[in-house]
Structures are given as structure tokens and as C-alpha cells.
Symmetry: none
Subunit: 401 residues, 2 copies
């Protein structure tokens, strides 16, 4: 179902929807533990909620596809990530809270090492320190181009963000990163006549960058990839008729929300403070996205026990949220992060939807195996959650007579 | 999700995937038996595997659609059969191990009966014997056409394969089979200017065929349908990055695999020998398709007890397969074949996926009803199995940052 299908059905209602994302929720049995962390954790509040919810598991992108955080969140915001694809340059900008403007061209940059023949010997320049990165970004910031502003922002280690700002820029340029060593960087090739001017600017940037970095071995050159500009998508408000607020500690998650036109609040990395911010803004919005990061970090660290502890902490805080009496409360993750894989994974993500209008199922415990039997099924497309939230919030009219 | 979506995500890994197809797996309760053959069979090995697998049922083509063997296998090979449609002429060629070349035009032929007015009285010429068919194909093989080679290969009873080989042939021709009696055969109509030449050749073939068969009543003419040439699809290796080997006793199944560019081994119709061939080739491929035919034949014969026996035989052999320690093992069928219907059916097909990275569900027994509660759900699209296999074999990168 396309986003546009919903538009004529949207109606106003005085109802509030909360989407609580426990990042990376969803795991696997680990070593000699037969239960996943969510199954092993003592979660009386989540279980009580599950018992009066409709439960299931969602597939954020598609079968077998491991979602990055960007696509994972787009899915649960209702934007099918196989349709709504965003370039790496834009994701990099979102990830450092950079306020990308319409018309800007963003690219992900790597410092790299070239040998005497100009061949790439290390695509990451030996993963230089973030301090060195900041110093070098300061140097690159001196570059001047005709008719375009150059912005170079340090990210971390060998990574930086390049933004070109000016008139008549286009993002359909090929990467300069050859994705291999022993060969020279590619020249940026324009894929359309519109992009010739931008390709000229990028060539100019690269020439000056090479000159400025020549004495900074191993970081004596840069590679660019994922040229992209802000997509022209329906905003969250246009798509769903909701005034949305994002409460998140990490820039990437605020960034995806801002990409859709939501307001954002930068929160401390503390679920309790995030819920206080939610209460503070309760009157001003219809939709609240609250992002809890810690549950994912624990998965990526491979720390099974710590993960259980953090899930139990989140469970403890749940009454603060339910006390606000949201009309619809969805609790889920943007992807699974099994401790055994120490990374995001393709496994479906547990989800519950609580509402006075939901049809409860037989699920009494919020866990991966229990949710298979839930009314949302074991493989709900992630982008179906938002239409379901709208329906349960009585914000959709009947389709057809 | 389109095949093309996976391409940029493919990555190399030293992992092996086995797809074991028990043809026609999946049935119904039969007469006074309340269980399906798979439920009634004693299958300790399949059950133990199911207990550590993710289970479910898959729908090869679409809701209510009964798959032929071609589409059924395309689905479990990851090619959505509603998108990847192949003409009957090509399927007929695959079914008799004919080595169709790019540019060849294949059609399915029937011997038929015409009356004195040239009207069709029997579209199958009274189902002549296969011996008579072979004799008549020998006669038709004398036909010569300008600029094209004619190949006529006997299939069975009234059925044969016609292949035209030459330059500038096109397959967009209409059938000559009117699908009715009491009317004359249709003339082959070209659907494009490109196909005029081929239509001329086919008219020439039909005229000579009529002359040669005139004294062979009831088989005094032929009808042609499903003109088709080899499709231009991504190969299995391009689509999934896997070197694939098909081990099958019957030409049709090897044919579908060869259509996708897999290597093929003609095996005896004996699962034990097929598993020996699997072990022999274990080092040389990443993906193995092993096709067991007998389970389907028993269903088509309506023999409930024999089917149980053949499923139990397959179960006995399972340790030979699991001893090879495939990283991903999928066991399923290409369609259901209930003994009660004595034919392929639309019912979903039981499937299990075993891998160290799968999230086990609560299913402890490999049977139709038990699999409904599995983590793959009761209606997984068949073409989703391959992306899931790749993910569990750690052969897919994360999508997006």
C-alpha cells in the first residue's frame, strides 16, 4: 500500500500516538542461554501491556534484509524503505545533526592513503584518530570553489561529511571511492548533463584537497561516495496528518525524524529523562517518537547479561509512559541486534500495539517466540505499523461506500 | 522485493546452503485419516531438525494458485513466478532435457484429429501411444524450411516439442491450437513485424506436416502453442552470488535449474544415491538443490499409505545430509499434492530452515498444522526463502547506514 493511498482517508481526531523504540530490540538465544534477552528479562510491565495488546513481529525492510538505522526507522515511520531510499551522503549529514538544506549536495568522505603513483593503499588512512580528523577537516575547510559554499564536517576516525551549497547543483555523480586498493581514485562522473557543473566543482575540491593534504601521510587524500540531496518526499504531517515530535539522544534518529519534517528534541541518553521530556511536550503534538539507544549498544557489545538489565530498566519506567494514557502505544525496535552476531540482523522485531480499540490476542508475554502467535503475525511489514496506529487512533475514514 | 534489490547487498562467505525439495510435500487429511501423510509419518529426524529450525508454510505463486512444477521451483529458487514467467514451449524443452539455445523458438505440439472439412475433432488425437508418437515425430523431422533448422522431439502420447533454430526468429506468435473442437486450427499470427518471418516458417511447417500426416488418422495434423524462447533473466549466480548445483532424477527439475545457469547432475531416482552425489560435489559449490521426486508421484497416485512410507524413507536418510553440516538447510516442497485431489494443489507447503543463526520457534514436529505456529508464518511467499537463506548464510550486507 502506497503512502498516497492513506491521504484521502485521513481525518482529525483528538488522539495521541506514542512510538517507543527500544533500539535493536529482538535477539537470539546466546551460547548456553536458551532464551533471548527479552525472553529472559523480568518484564512485568511489558507483559501486562502485551496481555491487553495486539502483538507480533515486524520485518523492517524485507525478507533476509538487515536494516541500517536509517531504513529501520523509515519503516516504522511508515515509509517503505525499499521505495524511500536515501543516499549515504544524506544519512551522514543526519548522523551529525547537520542541518541539510534543499539543494545542498552531501557526500560521505573518507581520508585515505595514496602511494607515489597515486594508487590507493588504504581506503581508511589507517583509521586516523578523531582529533587528527578534526585538524584535517579544518584544513579542508579552507577550500574555496566558484559559485558554491564548501562545508567539511568531521565525523569520526577517517570519516567526514562534505556538503556543497549553491545554485544548480545535482547529486547524480558517481563515487570517487574505487572500493579497492592498488588503483587510483575514480574521477567523479556526472550521470546527467545537469550534473556536469557539480562534477566540475567536485574535481576542483579534490584537486585542492590533494594539494592541502600532501604532507599529512597517511591521510594524504580523500575519497567521496554517496552524493545525495534531500529527498522530495511527503512529510510525516502530509502523509499521516500528525504533528510529530522526536525525542532522541543520538543525532541519527533525530535526523531521520527531521528528514520527514518532525520537530525534534535532543535528549540526554537516559530513558527516564526522555520520558520526562515526553510529559513536558504532551499537549503540543499528536505523535511522539521516543528513542532508547542503550538496548542496541548492549547487543552490539555482545553483552547478553547487560542487555537483560537494560530491558528490565526500560520495563521499570513503563508506568511513566502508560500513566500519560496514550490512545495508541507501540513498543518495538528498528531492527534486531542479537548478541551472538554483535551486529544488526535480519530477524523480525517484536512489536506490541496497545489501544482501547485493539483486538487483543493470546500473547501474555512480550518475547520473540511468544509474539509469533500474536494477531499482527510473525512477519508484518514494518511500514504497516503507522496505518495501524492511525486506525486505532480513529484517524482514518472508511474506504469506499 | 525485486531480485535487483539484493544485488548490491551480496557478499562472499565460505558458507553452504542446501535446498532439499521433497516434491509435492504437503497434503490433506484423506478419507478416514485425520492426519496428513506428513503428520502421520514417523519422522524423528525431521522433527528433531524442526525443533532447532524456524518453520512455517510457503505459498509458491499466490493465494489459491496451484503451481506447475516450473513456477513452483522458480519460486523456491527466489524468482517470483508472477514476474518470471516462462513460455510453455521452453518448459516443454526443459522437460525433455533439450538443450535450448539463445535464439531458438520452442513450441509445445499436440498431434490432433481433423475431419474432412479440416475441423478439429480431437485435440489429442485419441491420446495415441508414445510409440506411434515417436514414429510420427520421425516423419515430421523430414520437414525442411528455408533458413531454419527444424527439430521435432517426441515427448509422450500426443505431445511433442518443436524447435526452430536460425537467425532473426521471434517468439511473439499466437497459438494454432484453437482450444476447441468443431473449428479449424488457427493460423499462427505474428504479434510484431519482427515475428513475420517466423510466422512464415511455422505456416510452412504446418503445411508440410498436414501433407505428411494425411494418412495417419487419428493423428492427421498438429496443433502448436506456447511459442517461446529462452528468457533473459539474471542467472542464479548473478542474482544471489552462489555457485549452484542441481541434483535431480527428472529432466524438468534439472531444466529449471539449468535455465537459471546452475550446473546439473542427472541422478538416479533414488534419494540415497542423490545424497551420495551431494557429498561427492560438496567442495565445488555454495548452493545445492536436491530434488526427491517420489513423494509427489505417490500423491498423484492417491496412495496415502505409500506416501507415508516414502516420507519415512526420506527421514531415514536425513542424517547423511545433516552430517555434511550445511550452514543453511531448507527442507520443503515446490507445491502440495494431496492424495485426495490426486493432483498438485494451492495449499501452502511446509518448510523448515535450519541454521546456527536462525531464531528457533516453538514448533517441535514437522507437519502442516504444527508449522502454522512457526516463525516463518503460515503463508510466507515462496520467493522469500532465498533471501532468508542468504541472510542466514551471512551472505548479505546491511541495507543503508
Amino acid at each position: 500500500m502506497k503512502l498516497e493511498f492513506l491521504q484521502p482517508l485521513l481525518k482529525e481526531a483528538d488522539t495521541k500516538i506514542v512510538l517507543l523504540v527500544l533500539d535493536g530490540l529482538g535477539g537470539l538465544p546466546f551460547e548456553d542461554h536458551e532464551e533471548t534477552p527479552l525472553e529472559a528479562a523480568s518484564t512485568p510491565n511489558l507483559d501486562a501491556l502485551a496481555a491487553r495488546s495486539i502483538c507480533g513481529l515486524h520485518v523492517p525492510v524485507g525478507p533476509g534484509i538487515t536494516p541500517g538505522s536509517g531504513p529501520g526507522h523509515l519503516a516504522i515511520f511508515g515509509y517503505d524503505p525499499t521505495t524511500y531510499q536515501v543516499g549515504r551522503g544524506v544519512l551522514s549529514a543526519l548522523g551529525v545533526d547537520f542541518d541539510l538544506q534543499p539543494g545542498d549536495i552531501a557526500a560521505r568522505g573518507n581520508f585515505c592513503t595514496l602511494d607515489d603513483q597515486g594508487h590507493v593503499t588504504d581506503r581508511r588512512a589507517g583509521r586516523i584518530s578523531t582529533e587528527k580528523n578534526e585538524e584535517l577537516c579544518g584544513i579542508l575547510q579552507q577550500i574555496e570553489l566558484p559559485d558554491a559554499e564548501v562545508i567539511v564536517q568531521s565525523i569520526k576516525e577517517h570519516r567526514f561529511l562534505l556538503v556543497l551549497r549553491g545554485d544548480n547543483l545535482a547529486s547524480d555523480l558517481s563515487d570517487t571511492d574505487p572500493q579497492a586498493t592498488g588503483v587510483p581514485p575514480h574521477a567523479p562522473r556526472p550521470a546527467s548533463e545537469r550534473a556536469w557543473h557539480t562534477a566540475d566543482l567536485v574535481r576542483g575540491f579534490l584537486q585542492q584537497a590533494g594539494d592541502l593534504l600532501t604532507d599529512h601521510h597517511p591521510a594524504n587524500m580523500v575519497l567521496l561516495r554517496g552524493f545525495a540531496s534531500l529527498p522530495d518526499w511527503p512529510t510525516f504531517s502530509q502523509a499521516f496528518g500528525l504533528r510529530g515530535l522526536a525525542i532522541a539522544a543520538y543525532p541519527m534518529y533525530r535526523g531521520v525524524a527531521r528528514l520527514l519534517g518532525m520537530d525534534v528534541v535532543a535528549a540526554p541518553d537516559d530513558p527516564q529523562r526522555e520520558l520526562e521530556l515526553l510529559a513536558d511536550h504532551w499537549q503540543d503534538y499528536d505523535f511522539f517518537f521516543v528513542h532508547v539507544k542503550q538496548t542496541d549498544s548492549a547487543g552490539e557489545d555482545g553483552d547478553y547479561e547487560r542487555r537483560i538489565h537494560l530491558i528490565e530498566q526500560a520495563d521499570d519506567l513503563l508506568p511513566r509512559l502508560t500513566d500519560l494514557n496514550p490512545d495508541v502505544l507501540i513498543i518495538t525496535g528498528d531492527h534486531s541486534t542479537p548478541a551472538a552476531l554483535r551486529a544488526h540482523s535480519w530477524h523480525p522485531v517484536p512489536v506490541l500495539l496497545a489501544s482501547p480499540h485493539c483486538r487483543p490476542d493470546t500473547v501474555q508475554h512480550f518475547g520473540e517466540r511468544a509474539c509469533i502467535a500474536g494477531g499482527l503475525g510473525p512477519r508484518l511489514p514494518g511500514a504497516h505499523l503507522m496505518p495501524l496506529a492511525l486506525a486505532h487512533a480513529l484517524r482514518l475514514q472508511k474506504f469506499g461506500a
